[in-house]
Symmetry: D2
Subunit: 428 residues, 4 copies
């Protein structure tokens, strides 16, 4: 690979060492369309990362693009704090019509600072204020962001260490499946909730992802999530589902919990919500827990009007009928087949995740990393996940053309073959 020579030296000279993805994908990208990105040398890459699930509808969707350009050309309000704007009103109406009403959700929309972490921070504050309690239950391998409140709920030790100070206010419990197939970890939660001497302080909230995107694509079962929801309700805690990475269609339906027969008290959203990759954060909160006073959780960029424009188009285009859901189902099968091929190459490897949030645990971070690096050499952007980066994770745009998906899977399978072959040879 010769792209590194073309990388502008300005990044090395002036960008903080905290930069990360650019290290693994060491080129300068300039343009992108649906599932493909092009760099300054004109080379095109298939994108199986999709902004970590922020580009579920691909790059530069033409309809969103047109609407956004029109809005800008008309001097539409770009920044209006949290004042009413036409763009905001139109988004809320669309969201109500296509998302909330069909699900009989009475939730209010609370626009927060345009990041997922901000949505999680707000959700935790709402739960604490609404219940008068402080303890938040979060799970092993959960990832909820790196600002102090969200980071306390995040499991990853590398990120936690970045705090430089102890994190508090969160009790950690084992996620579904963490103790093996024979143990229902909800039993432990229930016992600790019932036991007046367990040391578990009465929780303000139980916070979970239905699929742990950063934690290794662990997918909770519907019954487990439903039981957690019941325990939350019974013990006066709010159920917060962090749908930042798993939401917006990633698992096959708009919300990741659509088929689980639960109604969370709070849902956090960000990433693909704007549809176009623009920063946007949102908290959905049941009307009776909508307890934050005016500006009590404030912020300058609550309400990114450009994002409202594209988000509205995204909902209308993709969630007013079932076309996308059908597409996802078909593509998910293709991905599953591809990953099974890889799993067959690595003893002990197994598939993880669900919908188009899938991966294969190849048992070691070194191997997974090598496969991804090899794939990038061959024109595919794909990343690892999991506590030890041992999962090769596919987060392709939901809108990826079937042919491009097949091509990307081929590259990945070849990369896996090359690296497992290498490993075998080295071992011999």
């Amino acid at each position: 690979m010769t792209t590194s020579t073309s990388t502008m030296p300005i990044f090395k000279r002036r960008e903080s060492d905290a930069r990360s993805y650019c290290r693994g994908f060491d080129t300068v990208f300039t343009s992108a369309r649906n599932a493909e990105m092009t760099d300054a040398q004109g080379r095109t890459y298939i994108d199986f990362l999709a902004g970590c699930s922020s580009l579920n509808y691909g790059h530069n969707d033409p309809d969103m693009k047109a609407a956004l350009v029109d809005y800008i050309m008309d001097d539409g309000v770009a920044h209006g704090l949290d004042m009413h704007t036409g763009a905001k009103g139109a988004f809320i109406e669309t969201f109500e019509t296509h998302i909330l009403k069909p699900r009989s959700m009475d939730h209010k929309l609370m626009f927060v600072g345009p990041t997922g972490a901000n949505a999680v921070e707000a959700a935790i504050k709402i739960a604490r204020k609404s219940t008068g309690r402080t303890n938040v239950i979060a799970f092993t391998n959960g990832f909820h962001g790196v600002t102090q409140g969200a980071l306390a709920a995040t499991g990853n030790s590398y990120h936690r260490g970045g705090a430089g100070a102890p994190l508090s206010g969160v009790t950690r419990l084992p996620y579904d499946g963490y103790m093996g197939k024979d143990v229902d970890t909800a039993d432990l939660l229930e016992q600790m909730l019932l036991d007046a001497s367990s040391g578990l302080d009465a929780p303000a909230a139980i916070l979970l992802e239905t699929v742990q995107g950063e934690g290794g694509l662990n997918a909770a079962s519907g019954p487990w999530v439903r039981r957690i929801a019941e325990l939350a309700k019974k013990h006066g805690a709010l159920l917060i589902i962090d749908d930042i990475q798993a939401g917006c269609g990633r698992t096959g339906s708009f919300f990741s919990f659509d088929d689980m027969d639960v109604q969370p008290d709070i849902v956090t959203m960000a990433k693909s919500l704007s549809g176009f990759g623009l920063p946007m954060g949102l908290v959905l909160v049941r009307a009776d827990h909508d307890v934050m006073g005016p500006a009590e959780h404030n912020g300058t960029f609550r309400g990114n009007n450009h994002a409202f424009v594209t988000a509205r188009v995204a909902i209308e285009k993709f969630w007013s009928n079932d076309t996308l859901k059908t597409d996802i189902k078909r593509r998910a099968k293709l991905i599953e087949d591809g990953l099974k091929t890889i799993a067959d190459m690595v003893p002990g490897a197994y598939l993880k995740g669900r919908g188009m949030m899938r991966g294969v645990d190849v048992g070691s971070g070194d191997l997974a990393g090598a496969i991804c690096a090899e794939a990038f050499e061959n024109g595919l952007i794909v990343e690892t996940s999991g506590p030890n980066d041992e999962v090769v994770k596919i987060l392709a745009p939901l809108t990826i053309e079937d042919g491009t998906l097949a091509k990307g899977l081929d590259i990945l399978i070849q990369a896996a073959a090359a690296k497992t072959e290498t490993t075998k040879i080295a071992a011999e």
Copy 2:
């Protein structure tokens, strides 16, 4: 005012009660240009709020707008996580050329989640990691955001109460002028730092705004800031200047501390950085404190490429020569004169702030609120500030046309006259 009848009911029905600015400015805005906003009824308002200093260059600057539309039309990368993009590289180069180099700053650029709060969270984490200490010194009336780490440093009790849990890790000390003219509050800081039994834990950082935008436009003197900087250095703490609201020209120069002969270890930026009101956050950190590892402080929207495009244009257009600085100086004088007229109407009232970050303390939140409400009736968007909202605050775009500025000041003066007259009559 009849605008309320035209407000779309969707907001009331579905937007969280946490919404705030829309309550005082109860109409639906649709378009905006430089210092004027237009609502759905076609009514135009002069904007003395400017997105709380997020729109220093006005709404929809034509050069930024053109560059942004071109970028979108060319399918420029909208979202690329923190991968290298051409837009990012160009921004960094421009920022280095026009901002860092002329000031001999060796700082690195750390792109963080696109909010000011995220920049503050990152800054605190950097300071803690770099020093191995946890205590952060912040000041009375400081405002740094409402996520848990930033909120601990924020003074406002209403926002602090929103946490629903005790906040820790911050020691609060009196800001410049807090104890009256005869007491240099830096003396107290110094004594506590020197005293092994003061109870002040060795600080990781001292965090301050040079002008407290939300805290009532208190402006610290240069000598005080310099002394704090020296104390920080002597005692091994990092000096963090939160320039989110006061930066980007608001006080007359790019950084609010440009004339103070201090070089902060860390500067936090957001609000007007993108130039166009798009979400963007940035931490400037001296190279030797650039200690965060790859992705240690991560986030999906680090690197809003649309914002990079407009931010580059903003720097090039406004900070490659002294035109804007000259304009600010002239306009600041107009504002000062206008505010003096108001101050003369209210016994005990006095001016606050500096540059184009000015206000008048009218002694009561009720009066200040009444003035702003009256002004809005007459076509001016203007807000209050301070612990009891007792300061009428002007944050007009730096680029406001002189005529528009004069017109806005007239509306404000008339509003003040009407409300002080009312008060007098009521008192008689």
Copy 3:
């Protein structure tokens, strides 16, 4: 019962509502000898509470009493801060000879404020300072005291609630047996320690009781404790065994872990250490973790010289040969037989604890309370334990005469019979 009329009104008038044991045992005690207490009316009670295991050698042991009176008569130093005294030196030498040397323990003696809670606070501080970590792992149903640091490690929600503020710095995990017989809870600990994304911060210490005295007489198995010890060692955490209630012979040997083949890094002691019921606290810490500097953990009453005098006699009299151990074994069997008789009366009841730290779980706090109240009417002091006070707990002096023990057990059995009969009748 008519004793309440004899209770001095001064207690009700002036003693805080925080008083507790005096409510269940509502009389005024004046004198006591070995296993019997006498009240102001001259009524004598058998003592199956023994100061919650603070009077393992009974009340007013004649040898300790004689030595103490001699010491006082000779104007022995009563209070000497932590200066060297003859009484202290003699105690340490005796403790070294009969306790430490036979076990090849290199531990240092750190005299702390004369309470168990203070010993736990010191132990936690030592672990944090020695490891540079802050997280302490404690277990469900653990009880370690009610000062802020110790209370964070205590599981009981009533006591935790008394803090009036969130408690932090402790991770709670399930104790041995908490998840039923089929789950080894050490597996969960191990997995979380190995998993870089479990959210379990690297622990400074693992803190446990081998038998949970307040938590319901749950007894950990030797293999479980040994495995915890191994995990602590492997992962750089200190093992703290809180032997405050279970130590000093209560389970059959001087330390409760004597037969478990583990050597804790830190042991906390109090309660029966002085032998005479006098306040005394002690931390045993391995020499290489003896990291507290001079007075870094200080306190006025470190070193209660009267307690040193009686503690020395206690060690010499009871731990220089095996007589007491033999006695405990025999008495423990008598207690076990008596409790089995009670267990047979209550469907589902079962025995808990080990050694002379035994009880019977009768399934409900109401029934257990009723049995204890009935027993007190008939001259027996006995208390409940457990998260819902559902365990009738026997903590008789280890030195109780066999006849007195039998008599006390008879009273308890009769009380259980009466109350279970009542329950049956009521149920019919």
Copy 4:
């Protein structure tokens, strides 16, 4: 000095490095009477330390001693948890008669674990529970103990560092006189309480010592304490006076605040309360703040019956008439004169404290330490105080014979003369 050769090696071999006073006073004490201690070699020392104010009535007072021995000989209850005992009842009645009633105090007595730190921990918990707030205001140079809750309120950085973790829940403000004579530090407290944006969370309690025993004998003025009391009341905070070191006559009256016209909501007591140097802790709490439920703040040694016996005698003997008060006044004058003599030897030296809680600030810890070491060589036990140990502190028994006091002062003056002479010579 040759005493070190006579020190038993057991201390060095087995006592923790945390031991402290024994380092400066390196001999083995065996007996003591009033103001004199005798070591194993038969050497007698005058005691100007008095157990850090724990022996206000001297060592082994004959009346207390007689009562205690009688009690023990009669098999009086030594340990009864917090059950009613005759000894406890008699103490409470005496305390009510001679201490509470004459001051019209309606306070309840809450017996806590027998240390001052435990009393402070309980006081903070009461305040938090009673107010529903968590923040506690404490002052520069305050010392309240080293368990986690109390340590958070303690100013000393060496002790704070011993926590090994950040301490929270306390806001630190400058004590009376901290900012020089021209600044009333209560002004800062008032302003921060009134300012909704000061960052000072509404306090549960304001905690202070009227004379800071460990912090350098800083004495607050009556008006300052009164103003703090008024601010506490006005802002819904409880006033906690920590009278552990300054109480029991040390400043001239039973409580250190007797002449200040304030009535604290809570008073913490320990040290000299038992009269005999036995461990005892007590919280006095106004009836309407007596909110702790039964055993909510519990502990094994609440209620040290031996201490009740001696404490009762102490109250009866010393506080049923004014003899001791008269004696203290006279002896305080002698001490003041002696310290003035020393102050005259050291440029810049000045007296600190009040009553028989006095010292001289000699400007350097080295000099103060050298004076104390020299004094010990010559038969006087005396210690330093202050953030840098720069104060030579006299805490002689209140009952010291005038002749012994004079003799001790002579030794101290000679030591000061020798060391200042040395310093002068060295400087020349």
